[in-house]
Assembly symmetry: C2
Homo-oligomer: 289 residues x 2
């Protein structure tokens, strides 16, 4: 297991590029821009999907994607994860053929694309799911938001990227970023699967919106608390209430809204003592749209 | 053709819902939240994809999705677009079987999901594509940004939603919003296809990031100018330069960066005369992440 916390590496030269342009006055300018490259994920002999990603942690992305789509089960034994950066593919190999491969073969005879199917499978996975009633303190949430927003990141370096952080109490453990909102979550899921990290005492913090898919993924990962600086959709809230996920949105400075799990929220911090975000942090989220 | 401009309808009761929660002080609060629902798109007898959408304009979304994926060609004759809101499906029917259906049937025998394939097809569509050398005035861009940011919208009502606007000179023509960044663009593409709107004199403005897929879609739609208040990825810039798309990013108040097409940009406005965005507009984009 890598040393924790696992933080962004904004100075990694493979992740950003200097690009020249002109500003509003016509002056030549050079800016840091995040990379974006295709990664094709295979499960054994089956090609599954091509994701657009920043390209760090391809192995975690592949494992997490397959886990979150229900294509890999908790008891599947992964025998190898082979990444080939030249042909931009990653192959996840399992001890037994997974039941998913059979399912894909069967379903795609009648259905053009597995995506619809897979979404249905994700919803099915929620049936009967009830998350542990883990308490979360508002003092942790405020501490996490502040630390995450000021940690050096690709976002602060180049913008146009999403961040998702696996946390325990007031400590960020694994901070992933990606051009795709879902990739960042999938990389965390892959990390947890690979290293057998328990979920029931964790908090997931994201810069992105709390849409249905984000809520479903968090719930299927078994994480009982999801917090975001952004907004949410009606269906996202509905699913969170159904599975007992504590859902916190619009976290900015001292403000937040709790949409689900009020009875599991321990209000131990005085919001008035939390400073408003400075202008830099406000701009921060503005670029991630 | 509907009367133009076609603007958002934030008061449409099908698009938002009041949801109760508690704020940081523990006070009960009620907020407007956007809806999100699945829509399954069929091309004739072939199921293609299930998209998560806010649910307005399902017919335009279906047509535009199929057009942007290269599954419908400009000369395909659409005989019907049947939307069934009870089972949340839309079926696009064409005079002849499209070549795409055959392709899906063939490819999915070896490939689990058409998404990778389709992305490859989109890239192929760029081969040899050169957009018209349409000029764009900075005075239009400033006027558009101001008007779009202050037009009543679901964004201003409920947040957590993306907007994309088809414009001509300094006039917004079709303003679409959706929980999915790509859905908003697809709805515009569907509108243009359905009503035979020429592309070569248009500007596409979006609140979202200029990723490769967004740039590819705009180019395939034949629109020569793409502007955004958000950032961009390196590959997005590369593709824009390759096809001659004028690319403007990070438009906020008087600021912007031109990444591609400087020689087609007519700098007829004095940036110093453009007011900085007020606090409300700054927050605006912060919620769309």
């Amino acid at each position: 297991m890598p040393d924790l916390p696992l933080l962004p590496t904004p100075n990694d030269p493979r992740l950003t590029r200097r690009i020249s342009g002109t500003d509003q006055t016509g002056t030549a300018t050079e800016i840091s821009v995040v990379e974006e490259r295709p990664l094709t994920i295979y499960l054994n002999r089956q090609e599954i999907v091509t994701a657009m990603t920043i390209g760090d942690y391809p192995e975690y992305l592949a494992l997490g994607f397959l886990r979150n789509q229900g294509m890999l089960h908790p008891d599947d034994v992964v025998t190898a994860v082979d990444y080939d950066d030249e042909i931009e593919t990653v192959v996840v190999r399992t001890e037994r053929e997974t039941s998913y491969e059979e399912k894909v073969q069967k379903k795609t005879r009648t259905s053009g694309c597995a995506v619809g199917t897979v979404f249905g499978d994700m919803m099915e996975g929620l049936d009967g799911l009830v998350l542990p009633r883990t308490e979360v303190r508002t003092s942790w949430l405020y501490a996490l938001a502040k630390e995450i927003n000021t940690t050096p990141s690709l976002y602060l370096e180049a913008g146009a990227i999403h961040g998702t952080v696996l946390c325990q109490e007031d400590r960020p453990l694994v901070f992933m970023e990606d051009v795709g909102r879902h990739n960042a979550v999938d990389k965390i899921s892959g990390y947890m699967f690979r290293h057998g990290i328990p979920a029931e005492d964790k908090i997931l913090y994201t810069t992105g919106r709390l849409t249905s898919e984000m809520v479903i993924k968090t719930a299927l990962m078994g994480i009982p608390v999801l917090a975001s600086r952004s907004g949410f959709t009606a269906w996202g809230v509905e699913i969170a209430r159904q599975v007992g996920l504590t859902l916190i949105g619009r976290m900015r400075g001292q403000r937040f809204v709790c949409l689900s799990g009020e009875d599991r929220l321990v209000r131990d911090a005085d919001p008035a003592s939390v400073p408003e975000e400075d202008r830099k942090s406000r701009r921060k989220s503005a670029d991630v749209s």
